[in-house]
Symmetry: C2
Subunit: 337 residues, 2 copies
């Protein structure tokens, strides 16, 4: 298996950019100084970027390059889902070690490309550079939204319903199980939670259909954990939120992980976890329309609380008691100690 050093930069770039068929909206693809793209009339452009670093965002022992590429694409697609935007074009910037296998690099790109293609987007350019330590990949994704129709984090108002897709916390539980049990986490009983961590899906199709209902007033994707991400949405909107734990979706696998890990279920649900689910503020009058759309997509949509005037997050326990919640999510710069 040749390494990047064996083949050299020019040949590696040739392989990375080979066999590209023309794509809609791409006047000029990879291979020139820049790509040339044809935006659709009447749309605004939506742009996001996300990077994964080896050892931090992905662990090679747990994730083959193709899967890592797909997950990086999902992280970016999920940002566009949170804006109700349709993905179009991506640029992929990679830092790779000279001694790495070219096939691993091609697989990472293929994983990203295949995932993007499922949602209508293509890689139109990129950059490849040499690193000596941890490898990394940074994807910039461009999408389109009908002018003025994008979602933001700042539109939630007191009285709006708090909705979540899926069952947040599963990805964080999968990662915690892998760390705790190591090879033991590969047992069938944990497969679904491991997949939530390693193979997350963006809620993009759902988001685009929810957007057409006009019911969603604010949105954000869950990339750090519900408590932290919801706190950000609340801050941007100038509101608070009260989570009703009794309304939270049942998840027997997450409950089992809570037991095995000795971590309270609430900490798994609300704590650090990159699920790429969506947190939504929903107009209470249009809740039923959202439920219909979610049912059509086969995606669980839980109405788990409401937005309130007083800032901050709180949790209403099943017995009616309310207590403040201190957001705790993933902090990239926090020490282990």
């Amino acid at each position: 298996m040749p390494t990047l050093r064996d083949l050299g930069e020019i040949e590696v770039l040739r392989r990375l950019t080979a066999d590209r068929s023309p794509a809609a909206g791409v006047a000029l693809g990879p291979g020139d100084d820049a790509a040339v793209l044809d935006p659709s009339p009447g749309t605004e452009l939506v742009a996001t970027t996300d990077a994964f670093v080896e050892g931090a965002h992905y662990l090679p022992a747990w994730s083959a390059p193709e899967r890592t590429g797909a997950r990086l694409a999902t992280a970016n697609l999920s940002d566009l889902a949170a804006m109700a935007a349709t993905p179009r074009w991506a640029l992929l910037s990679i830092g790779a070690r000279p001694e790495s296998e070219v096939d691993a690099l091609l697989a990472l790109q293929r994983g990203a490309e295949d995932r993007l293609a499922r949602f209508g987007a293509v890689v139109v350019g990129g950059n490849l550079t040499s690193v000596s330590g941890a490898e990394w990949a940074s994807l910039t994704l461009l999408g389109e939204v009908p002018a003025g129709r994008y979602w933001t984090r700042s539109g939630a108002r007191p009285g709006d319903l708090l909705a979540i897709t899926g069952s947040p916390g599963r990805a964080g539980a999968g990662l915690a199980l892998a760390r705790r049990l190591e090879a033991g986490a590969r047992s069938p009983e944990w497969q679904a939670l491991l997949d939530a961590w390693l193979e997350p899906e963006p809620r993009l199709d759902l988001a685009l259909d929810l957007a057409s209902t006009g019911a969603v007033k604010a949105a954000m994707d869950v990339s750090d954990g519900v408590a932290q991400d919801l706190a950000r949405l609340c801050e941007a909107s100038g509101v608070g939120a009260e989570i009703a734990t009794g309304e939270w979706p049942d998840d027997s696998e997450l409950a089992r992980a809570s037991h095995s890990l000795g971590v309270p279920l609430e900490a798994l649900r609300l704590g650090p976890s990159d699920d790429y689910e969506l947190v939504l503020a929903v107009d209470p009058k249009r809740r039923a329309a959202c439920e219909d759309v979610a049912a059509r997509h086969g995606v669980a949509l839980g109405f788990v609380g409401r937005f309130i005037e007083e800032s901050g997050l709180s949790v209403r326990l099943a017995g009616g008691e309310v207590r403040a919640l201190r957001p705790k999510g993933y902090d990239a710069f926090e020490g282990e100690g």
Copy 2:
């Protein structure tokens, strides 16, 4: 001076995105899941991305963070110059060590932003992640070009004139001097060559005015070295090129570096060097129009050869002898040995 770990991710992001005034064409800037941009009607979108890695693309001992940010912006601006596109929006993705100073990170971003602002572009989003080894920054730059009016690498035809801006090779000479002489390279006699390496300027304003002459048939920026980059342009265009060394611009500083380094002048001119100058294929009937534009901008524009039917690069020496040139540029994955 607080480090990234001292402040934590949320506060660092707050500082990175603070005090942003509204910018033209930006409906929603940093701070949401994605940025929302308003493309100009009648234009195509031009997208490029370039990354710098500490120790490879920049040496902290030689380049303060602000300068590194400016140079990263130049690398991307130069790609848009080579497409005759007007810069608009950028996304900056950074991998930083937890123990790095927040001020250094802010300075790098400011350096990039100030350089981008000089050419009309703003940073609309980004990503910040933690690394344990070499730091890196990856910038994606979006620009606009009137529909169908972009330059490519593939438009050169036999008979077109080969033109270069400035005096390529100076950046590579500056880097070689820094490596060879270390602190000694900081003497005033090498300042201009060091600046060519550390403070390159994109030829953007010149490119946009040259585009309006209609004289330029193909373009590429010099980021690896003239021989390698010209070989790529020739391959994309399906032509060859003959360089007339007698026509190459005089550069007494480069000649002095050649002498001091013991490297032939031709190797400095044509070898590895990221000058961010432009290589152009010019319609011979419109040479004078290009010369007028270049003179107006105070930029040297040398007509240093011509494109020919036979593939490959050759050099015509002052005496008339022609010999083949083997392109040799920067290869990111090549070993030192």
